[in-house]
């Protein structure tokens, strides 16, 4: 890359750098660990690349309040190590190795435990952002319950850096349950199987289907995790154990060129899987059962079927996004697909980044 690299070590310095860059009309790309560089639209090569890795402080872990404040360049794994020593965790489990907190929020990356704990927007309680012109602003706070002012954290979550830089985040933490029980059940209808599981009263923290096997996960106190696993085996069969199966939570597109993310009405999972199997019979699938999300790894040639897949999935209330792909592949397709409420989003972009300097082209949509 021929772009200049900025690596500020404080939020103040970050603001100064952006003020200077925007004053010169230079476009800015943002990079954390680089674990999701292939996500989003290809974008235009920016004049300046801003690395958040110098923003690496864990500002405060208030263990008694189950809250942590960290700068954006801190790795999610480091957050987990820090709070893990207090028997806590930040209930986000996207699998990308080395991913920074800023990158996870900017891409709204999730893993299988979203079934119980939700997505990054649900756990982010405060944020400090830096706009293109260097303005540093804060919203939310460091208490979980807080409705004062607009929640900029929600807007910046999943914005792919196009509204500004995420500089610091405050999260709600959860107690780390002491016991883990896992049931793996062979099934070709994971949706019906999960329905049968929840009818027993069991509350899995995650449910993932890899194309043939449903993995239901229970994290609780020992006796309750054990009991719920027993209920599941009784209801849908399978094997109970105390370890996650290999590949649990991994992206199905690892080692493949293209990743797709399909969403659907939760009740339409069966149809969504059938649509996918018809359109792309060779797709490698992992589904967050019960959350309405199916991930798939495919070859670039499969993208010929993208628009027909999109129209079928739209009938199930969902959308299809090209989650990741090489730039040359992405330049030939509409990565994001149709967007509801686009006119308003365009106005938001104009307000936060009127000159279009931040991560240009990462979020490209056809009107």
């Amino acid at each position: 890359m021929s772009s200049d690299l900025f690596r500020p070590t404080s939020i103040e310095r970050l603001g100064e750098m952006l003020a200077t860059a925007s004053g010169d009309g230079r476009t800015v790309g943002i990079r954390g660990a680089g674990s999701k560089e292939t996500w989003g639209a290809a974008g235009v090569e920016p004049d300046v690349v801003l690395s958040t890795r110098g923003l690496d402080r864990i500002v405060e872990h208030a263990a008694g309040d189950l809250v942590i404040t960290v700068e954006a360049g801190v790795a999610l794994a480091e957050v987990q190590r820090t709070v893990g020593s207090a028997g806590q965790w930040l209930a986000l489990d996207p699998p990308e190795p080395g991913a920074t907190v800023g990158g996870v929020i900017a891409t709204a990356a999730t893993g299988p435990r979203r079934l119980r704990f939700g997505t990054p927007r649900d756990l982010l309680i405060g944020i400090t952002v830096v706009l293109a012109d260097g303005t540093v602003a804060r919203s939310g706070g460091k208490v979980v319950k807080n409705v004062a002012g607009y929640d900029l954290g929600k807007l910046f979550t999943g914005s792919f850096g196009t509204l500004g830089v995420i500089a610091e985040c405050t999260f709600r933490l959860h107690p780390r349950p002491p016991a883990l029980r896992v049931v793996t059940t062979s099934t070709d209808d994971p949706s019906a199987a999960l329905q049968a599981v929840t009818k027993t009263g069991a509350e899995p923290t995650a449910a993932e289907w890899d194309g043939s096997t449903l993995t239901t996960v229970f994290e609780s106190i020992e006796s309750a995790a054990e009991q719920q696993a027993d209920w599941v085996v009784g209801a849908i069969g399978g094997d109970a154990g105390s370890a996650l199966p290999p590949g649990f939570g991994a992206r199905p597109w690892e080692g493949m060129a293209v990743g797709l993310k399909l969403t659907h009405r939760i009740g339409a999972m069966c149809e969504a899987l059938a649509v996918l199997a018809r359109a792309l019979p060779d797709a490698v699938v992992r589904a967050h059962v019960g959350s309405g999300v199916v991930l798939a790894g495919v070859d670039p040639g499969a993208l010929a079927a993208l628009e027909s897949l999109r129209s079928s999935i739209a009938g199930l209330g969902g959308q299809v996004v090209v989650a990741c792909a090489p730039d040359d592949v992405k330049r030939d397709v509409d990565v994001w697909g149709p967007v509801r409420g686009l006119a308003v989003m365009r106005r938001l972009k104009e307000q936060f980044d009127p000159d279009g300097l931040m991560c240009p082209g990462r979020f490209v949509v056809t009107p």
């Binding site: 602003a137 309750a224 199930l316 959308q319 006119a343 000159d355």
Partner: protein, 485 residues
């Protein structure tokens, strides 16, 4: 003809006579919301019966430059639905249909006037419920909950309204109608739903809401623990959290709040209690049984002198009745009172309660404490007698409590909203720059500033073009085939 008169005439021509209120006596019904210390007679009231009605009225407001305020059931406690004499009050109560109940999708689509508790009643036969449960849930509307990002006792485990809304239809301040999100998760683009929830009616009028439904938990257990002192009860809360138990709710009431509840609804809390703790556990029975034992043990270690476990729905209901009626019950023991809503980090509880005591003692007033102890959301009730000239002192105590929350790193509001009442505190919690940046959102939605103006922000931002040069246009954008963000 004034703009307001013209708007009123337009509404009369378009809507049924019963939908447009201009009679002064009738208008007074709407002069305040649940915070009755602020009153203002609306210029005109429109009782909307459809999204089209609202789009029409808002469109006319935009054309004529008339401000509008949306109102649901009017139970808000921050003056968020306080009307304007120069504007129109759009009441959404008649939009009360559950449009679509989809238990298989774990969603419901509702109009904004649907009463919170009615949604759970409708979902219950299917084994589902709607989680956010503000104390006013028997009367408050989902639209109002969306505006305020309402919480409730059970948000400790299940989160607030923002966590349970997946889609919105909004009449924008220019009169257009927009859809955001929907039944499926992770809608593509910016999280506009997340920005609108909790915006207190300043970004438009919500006309349809898609919400998450949760499966009714297998088991629910409610524990009432009585302590001699509020400090001991606070210790029990810390011990429960430290043990890794995440109850659905942990509520704390002090002696004065207990006295009020007893006088009003006779929940029969243990006599001689300086504080009671209500802990509710829910989930799979095996988990609840084990956690119940933990909670009992931890309460006893913290010197609880009486522990009751609700036997059946009736007992559970009575325990909750005492808590949920606490605000109104205070009227039994004091002629006047102010309900405050502030948040502190839970670990600062003992220190802040002591400070509140000191402030109250100095002012010669009593403060009853009712709060969501699990998440540090305090609801101190400042008791006073207006006829004795105590109003100013009570307001000073109430304001001082908010400052205490901020000094301990908390928030000026946990669930009641900023509304009209707390505009003055916003500048203490956020810098002018923070507030300006937040208002970029306002400028994107409502550049003319006609949607519930004067609420939330102390100083409106002027939404103008900022100078600057454009650069780095994406090839697709240059070709005119795509929008580039």
């Amino acid at each position: 003809m004034t703009a307001l008169a013209e708007l009123t005439a337009d509404c009369r021509a378009r809507l049924k006579p019963s939908q447009v209120i201009t009679e002064p006596a009738e208008l007074r019904t709407y002069e305040c919301d649940g915070l009755s210390s602020y009153r203002s007679t609306p210029g005109v009231v429109v009782l909307a019966e459809s999204t089209d009605d609202i789009a029409y009225v808002v469109g006319r407001c935009a054309a004529l430059g008339v401000p509008f305020v949306a109102r649901g059931s009017g139970t808000g406690l921050s003056g968020g639905a306080l009307p304007r004499t120069d504007g129109v009050l759009i009441v959404t109560s008649r939009l009360n249909r559950i449009v679509h109940l989809a238990p298989d999708d774990e969603r419901a689509v509702v109009e904004p006037g649907v009463i919170n508790a009615n949604l759970t009643s409708a979902a219950a036969p299917h084994g589902y419920y709607y989680a956010p449960d503000p104390s006013s849930q028997q009367v408050c509307s989902i639209g109002g909950n969306v505006a305020e990002n309402s919480g409730g006792a059970h948000c400790l485990k299940y989160g607030f309204t923002a966590h349970h809304v997946t889609g919105l239809e909004v009449v924008m301040p220019d009169g257009s109608t927009e859809q955001f999100g929907g039944m499926a998760p992770d809608p593509v683009g910016y999280d506009v739903v997340g920005a609108v929830v909790g915006s207190e009616g300043t970004l438009g009028v919500v006309t349809e809401v898609t919400v998450r439904l949760l499966r009714t938990p297998q088991s629910v257990q409610t524990v009432l623990a009585a302590f001699r002192t509020i400090e001991a009860a606070g210790d029990a809360v810390s011990a429960i959290i430290a043990a890794g138990v995440l109850p659905a709710a942990i509520e704390l009431m002090d002696a004065l709040a207990i006295e009020a509840a007893e006088a009003a609804v006779h929940p029969n809390y243990p006599a001689g209690a300086g504080a009671v703790l209500i802990v509710e556990l829910d989930g799979p029975s095996c988990e609840v049984v084990a956690q119940l034992a933990d909670v009992e043990r931890l309460c006893l270690s913290a010197q609880a002198f009486d522990i009751r476990i609700a036997d059946g729905e009736a007992e559970r209901g009575l325990i909750w009745k005492g808590r949920k009626s606490a605000f109104a019950a205070v009227g039994r023991i004091s002629p006047d009172y102010i309900v405050q809503d502030g948040v502190i980090p839970r670990t600062a509880l003992a220190e802040v309660l002591q400070a509140i005591d000191d402030v109250a003692a100095e002012a010669g007033l009593r403060v009853a404490n009712v709060f969501h102890a699990g998440d540090g959301n305090l609801h101190p009730l400042v008791l006073f007698d207006e006829s004795q000239g105590e109003t100013e002192r009570a307001e000073a105590v109430s304001n001082r409590i908010i400052e205490l929350c901020l000094e301990h790193g908390g928030s000026i509001t946990g669930e009641h909203g900023v509304g009209h009442d707390k505009v003055v505190h916003m500048g203490k919690m956020f810098s002018p720059v923070d507030l300006d940046v937040m208002q970029l959102v306002r400028c994107a939605f409502d550049p003319a500033g006609i949607s519930n103006p004067g609420k939330v922000f102390p100083t409106p931002r002027l939404c103008g073009e900022r100078p600057g040069r454009r650069s780095g246009a994406h090839p697709l954008q240059q070709a005119g085939v795509a929008d580039v963000f």
